[in-house]
Structures are given as C-alpha cells and as structure tokens.
C-alpha cells in the first residue's frame, strides 16, 4: 500500500536534481577550463532531461505532442539567441 502511495520516482528525481546542482559547483575548483566546461555541459544535459521526463512528463502527452515540441523548440531558440547574441555583442562584435 505504502509503496503505491509513495511517489518514489519524484522523490528520487528531486534528490538527483539537487545532487546534479551540487556537482556543477565543482566547476569552481582549480581545474582546467575544458574540464569545467565538460562538467557543466554534462550536468546541464542530464538536469534538463530529468526535468523534462520526470517532472514535465514529456513522454506522456500524446494529444498535444506537436505543441509541446514546438514550445520546446521556441524555448531553445530564445535561449540560444540570448546566449549567442550577448556573446556577439560583448565579445565577438565589440568595438576595438
């Protein structure tokens, strides 16, 4: 009974996301730049998929799949534009 009621999947998901956030902090240690980037990229990708599959039930929505993926594509678009746009303004395109 208890086993069915207890949301083990979500509690584990929550703990994992906390651990992943903590792991990302190791990028502050004195290690080579490439390893920092690798740590951040790997934890970020796992974190994002965790959120999408465990908490946002991306795999369960059959009826609005199209809208869901469109929204994610839009989010990616905005995220990448903000990121690379800022780099474009302040690093690559800065007046010198």
């Amino acid at each position: 009974m208890m086993k069915q009621l207890f949301p083990i999947r979500h509690v584990m998901g929550y703990l994992t996301s906390l651990i992943l956030s903590a792991l990302a902090l190791t990028a502050l240690l004195d290690i080579p730049f490439a390893s920092k980037m690798a740590i951040l990229a790997v934890t970020a990708i796992i974190q994002a998929s965790l959120q999408l599959f465990v908490f946002m039930h991306i795999s369960e929505m059959a009826s609005t799949k199209k809208e869901l993926y469109l929204n994610i594509a839009y989010a990616l678009f905005v995220g990448l534009v903000t990121l690379f746009g800022s780099m474009f303004i302040f690093v690559w395109g800065w007046y010198s």
Partner: protein, 647 residues
C-alpha cells in the same frame, strides 16, 4: 534606521500624497463597514477564481494605475512647460519619470491587457474558465502586491530614481544608495512571477480548453494574439526574473554582478533588461492588434481580411522580437557589425507589422462601417501608429541613431507607438466588451467626446517632442534654460497634456454616467458581432455557456445568425466549476510583507514571511477541493432570469 529616513520628508506634494493615502484607506474601511460589505467583498471578489471577475479586478487596478501614471505625466509636463521651472526638484523629477514608466508599462498596460484577456479569451474559445483558475487568482494577487509595493515607495523610503530601465552603474548601491531601487527589484519580481504564471495559464487554456470544433485556425484573432503573447511572456519573463534577482543580490547582499570592478559587468544589465524589454513591448502590443482585429471586423460587417497572414505575421513578430534588443543601446560600444545586424532585424519587424496594417485596411474596404466609439479608436490607431512605426524605422538606423539617441525624439516615438497601439486598444476594448461584462453600453456621445479630446490632445502633446528631440533636448532633463529655445514647444506639449487629462476625465465620468442612465441590454449581442463571446447572455452567468458550444467555422456567431449553423445543439448538463479560495489573496499579503521587509533589509520579518510563503504554498498542495457542481435546474433558472422571464 530613523523614522525621518523611513518616511519621505520635506516635500509638500509628498505630504499631500501621504494624507490622501491615509484618508482614502480610512474612507474605504469606514465605507465597507458602514454598508456591511466586508463579507460581500471577501466572498464575491477577494476569494474569487472566476476568470471574469479576476479580469474586472485587473481592469479596475489598471484604471487606478492609469490615473497614478497620468498624474506623474502631468507633473513632468508641468515641470518642463517653462524654462527654469521650480515646481519639482531634480530628485523628485527623477523619481516621477521612473515610476511613470514602470507604472504605465508594468502596472497599467500589462494588467489592462491581461484583464481583457481574462474576460474574453475563455469566452471566445467556449470554455468555462481558464485551465488553472486558482493559479489565475494567484497571478492577480501577485501583480496587485507588486503594484502596491511600488506605489508605497513614493511615501515610504523613496521611489526608484534611475529610470524605468534602471541602468547600472547608476542603479547600483554605490550611486543609488536609497532603498528606491530595492523596491524596483522586488516589486517587479513579485508582479513578474504573477505575469509568468498568467502566460503559462493562458497557453494551456488556449491549447487544451477549446470547445469542440474550435480548431486553432478557427480561433478569433484576439485569442490568437493572446496565445502568441502568452508564449512570449513564458520565454521573455524568465530573463527579467534572473536579471532582477541578480540586481537584488547586488543591492541587498553586496554581490558584484553589475558593478564596474571585481569582475562585474554593468553593461550586462542593459543587455539582459532589453532581452526581456523588447519582447515586452510586443507583449503589450500584440493583444492590442488582436483587439483591433475584432473591432474592425465587427464594425465593418465583414470577416477579417487575410486571417492566415495575420496569424503568420504575429508568429514572425514574436520570433523577431527576440532578435532586436541591442537597438536600445546602439551607442554602448559594440562594433558596426553588431549594430548593422540589429538594425536589419529591427527594420524587418516593420514588414509583418505592415502586413497587419494592410489587412485592417482591406477588412474595411467595401465594408459597412459604423462609427462607434471603439471603432473610432481603431480608425485613429492606424495613421497615428504608422507615424510611430516610421519614426521607429528612423531610430532603427544605427548610424542615424547616434544623432538622436535618448533625445525627446525617442520619447515621442515610443509614445506614438504605445499610446495608439496599446492605450487606444485597451480603451477601445473596454468600450467594446463593457456591455458583455456589465450588461449595458457606455454612453456613445460621451465616449466620442472623450475620444476626440484624447486623440487630438495626444498629437498636440507628443508631436512637438519630435522637433524638440531633433533640436537636441535629451530625455529625463528636469529643467532647461531659456536660451536653449525649448520653451515654446514644451508649453504646447503641456497644453496637450491638459487636454489628454480632460479626455480621461470625460472617460471616467462616462463610466459613472452610464452606470446610472444607460439602458440595460436584453440580449447578449449589442454590436451585432461575430465571435463566440457574444453568443452567451450579458451579464455572463458564472458558467459562461449553459450548453457547450459546437463550433463549425470561423466567426461562429455570425454563421449562426446568418447561415443557420446553430452553436448550441447539445442539451443542458450539470456543470462543474472551481470553488473559491482565500489562499491566493493571503499569499499576496504574505508576499507583500516579504517584499517590504527585504526592501529595508529587515531580516527577521523577511525570514518569517518567507517561511509563511512556503507554508501557504504547501497548504495549497494538500487542499482537497472537488469544486462545485451546478445542477440542471439551477442552470435553467439562471438562464430564464437572464432572458428576463419571470420565474
């Protein structure tokens, strides 16, 4: 902290504001007690989760904020009306232009738009409410909390004074040591969370709650614009949330994100602010385009010209709106390559906008136009907005922008897009949907008087600013000497501002007059309109539609009236509705204490109220609420009463 630092002192006008705040509060409390309306207020309004009532509360708040922002504007125009004026000192002027911008954009335009969305969108798609009614109430109360917090800053602690864009390093603790910009970060953060929740709520509502047959490409244009706006909200507001959090850390906890030393980067604030800020202007203007599309089609007695191109152009605008933000700071130091890129993306936006303008013109072509008040605003919008758009393209040219960057030319430009774009639209929408919500029209004669005062005075106020800008008058100057020659045009502008104020007074008087004298509607469709919201009775019953509508095409009501395609072909069934909840308003109150304590860095109250927020949220998760069910007999009875039949 000493009390004389806590309250703003030394200004007669601020003492007046304090006295009026106290008097109004006492008047409200005494009035509610005397007329025994506390219970009514709590049951029918404060705890409501009904999208229509929440919409009405949004609109009332927006009108009050319009008054506050309008008084700010009048004071600024009065101060600059003549050279070397002593009406306001520099600090007071700075606070007033900052709060004018913040209030007009975030606490007037946004809630007005969201209020109209709340009232209209569920009706237009044939739904009983929004997808998450209680979340909707939370959105409203968080917005309201943010608005009250910012308004309080005027008398307690001092208002933000670094411009509505709060650029660093000016807004940093070093250069703005008062609590003003703490209010900025916290008030905007709290109301921003509310807006974000609204965005998510409306995406889900429009995607999941449409009546049978209401396909995406059959949705009324206002619903389409609300959907796209909600998507922009969902993706633009997180950037503001992050930027404001970093600002708060800088100001309250001494971090160094936007400082000029220790690895901070002051320009990053301007960057993040406009990554949100530019999509934000489309958040307030796209629903306005939707409102005009509804009104122009209704009063031209024709279907909307180029429906598909309207939708596509809005999607294109929403994508482009994320690609143009650097045009707000061409002069910051990036190279020609960057400015060239952002110039081109900015000018590209005028293409889909032009498509929309032509679609409205073609909708009216050969139509049977009736000149009602909402239609007059829509007609005035087209030429005035086009002037704003053309000057926008002028500003978009980076090399030319170096000449008039941050001059009154810019001020004139954005008032020329925002006022006809958004303010005319919400007033038009207000007149248009007013009979839907309250069951009677606003008086047309007074409405038209107000329109002419507002439309003409608007041009008298803002057209001179184009010339002042080209002559070199920069924005945010609190005074100027007579030798500059700025005096006469500023005086004309002040005269226009007086006219605008008079127009708004007529508008408010019209509400009072119409409540007393306007004939009550007997049928739900006073304008002979086209879309689903007019198919139910006015005022609208709590459940919106007695029978779930069955939609067979665009302009569902028009087809029902003229092509014999009935919308309501089902039978009455029991209706499930959400029950009221007091928790959203309590959450708003706790957030208010939390924000206020953080503004003054009072840690103990901040921690206690922070924990209280978590407790309220957790208690919501454990609520067992199955809602209420309206029985068939009850629906029949309500329907009879609404049709005016005796029971």
């Amino acid at each position: 902290m000493k009390w004389d630092e806590f309250f703003v002192t030394g200004e007669p006008m601020i003492y007046g504001a304090m006295a009026s705040i106290v008097l109004v509060t006492i008047a409200i409390i005494v009035g509610l007690t005397y007329f025994k309306k506390w219970g009514y207020l709590w049951r029918e309004w404060l705890t409501t989760v009904d999208h229509k009532r929440i919409g009405v509360m949004y609109i009332i708040s927006a009108l009050i904020m319009l008054f506050r922002g309008g008084v700010d504007a009048m004071l600024m125009r009065a101060q600059t009306a003549v050279p070397e004026n002593k009406l306001l000192d520099a600090q007071h002027y700075n606070e007033i232009f900052t709060t004018h911008g913040l209030i007009m954009i975030l606490f007037m335009a946004m809630p007005f738009i969201i209020g109209i969305m709340n009232v209209v969108v569920p009706l237009q798609i044939g739904a009983r409410d929004v997808a998450f009614p209680r979340l909707n109430a939370i959105s409203f109360w968080l917005f309201f909390t943010g608005a009250m917090l910012l308004n309080l800053s005027f008398v307690i602690g001092g208002s933000p004074d670094a411009g509505w864009s709060a650029y660093f390093p000016l807004a940093s603790l070093e250069f703005s040591p008062t609590v003003g910009n703490n209010y900025y970060s916290l008030a905007l953060q709290i109301s921003g969370i509310g807006t974000l929740l609204t965005g998510i709520n409306f995406i889900v509502t429009i995607l999941k709650m449409r009546a049978p047959g209401m396909k995406l490409m059959r949705m009324p244009m206002f619903t389409w614009s609300s959907l796209i706006t909600s998507v922009i909200i969902a993706f633009a507001f997180p950037v503001l949330t992050v930027a404001l959090a970093l600002m708060m850390f800088d100001r309250i906890f001494g971090s160094q994100f936007f400082t000029m030393s220790n690895g901070g980067m002051d320009m990053l604030w301007a960057n993040l602010f406009w990554v949100w800020g530019h999509p934000e202007v489309y958040i307030v203007i796209l629903p306005a385009f939707g409102i005009y599309s509804e009104i122009i089609a209704t009063f031209s007695k024709k279907n909307l010209y180029g429906y598909t191109s309207m939708v596509v152009s809005m999607v294109v605008i929403s994508l482009l709106s994320f690609l143009v933000w650097a045009h707000h700071f061409y002069t910051m130091g990036q190279g020609a390559m960057v400015n060239g890129f952002f110039s081109i993306t900015t000018m590209a936006i005028s293409v889909p906008t032009g498509v929309k303008i032509f679609n409205w013109l073609f909708t009216m072509r050969k139509g049977k136009i009736t000149f009602t008040t909402p239609m007059l605003y829509s007609l005035a919008f087209i030429p005035i907005f086009t002037i704003g758009g053309v000057t926008g393209v002028m500003l978009a040219m980076a090399s030319a922008d170096y000449q008039y960057h941050n001059t009154m030319f810019l001020v004139a430009h954005f008032h020329y897009v925002l006022i006809p774009g958004t303010v005319f639209a919400v007033i038009a929408g207000f007149h248009y949907w007013f009979p839907k919500v309250f069951g009677f029209k606003l008086n047309e004669r007074l409405g038209k008087h107000a329109f002419w005062w507002i439309a003409i005075s608007f041009n008298v106020t803002f057209f001179p600013l184009f010339f002042l800008g080209l002559q070199g008058m920069t924005r945010r100057m609190y005074t100027y000497s007579a030798e500059t020659g700025f005096g006469p045009l500023n005086l004309i502008s002040f005269a226009g501002a007086l006219g605008l104020a008079f127009g708004f007074i007529i508008l408010v008087y019209n509400i009072y007059y119409s409540i007393r004298y306007s004939p009550r509607e007997t049928d739900g469709d006073p304008w002979d309109a086209r879309t689903l919201e007019w198919a139910t009775s006015s005022p609208i019953p709590a459940y919106n539609f007695a029978v779930t509508p069955n939609v067979k095409g665009r302009d569902a009501l028009w087809s029902a009236k003229h092509d014999n395609q009935p919308i309501f072909d089902g039978k009455i069934e029991p209706i499930h509705l959400p029950s009221n909840s007091g928790k959203p308003v309590i959450l708003g109150g706790v957030f208010f204490v939390f924000g206020f304590a953080l503004v003054f860095s009072w840690w103990i109250p901040a921690i206690i109220s922070g924990i209280a927020i978590l407790i309220v949220l957790a208690s919501m998760s454990f609520d067992r609420d199955h809602g209420i069910t309206v029985s068939v007999e009850e629906i029949m009875e309500t329907e009879k009463k609404l049709r005016g039949e005796t029971l």
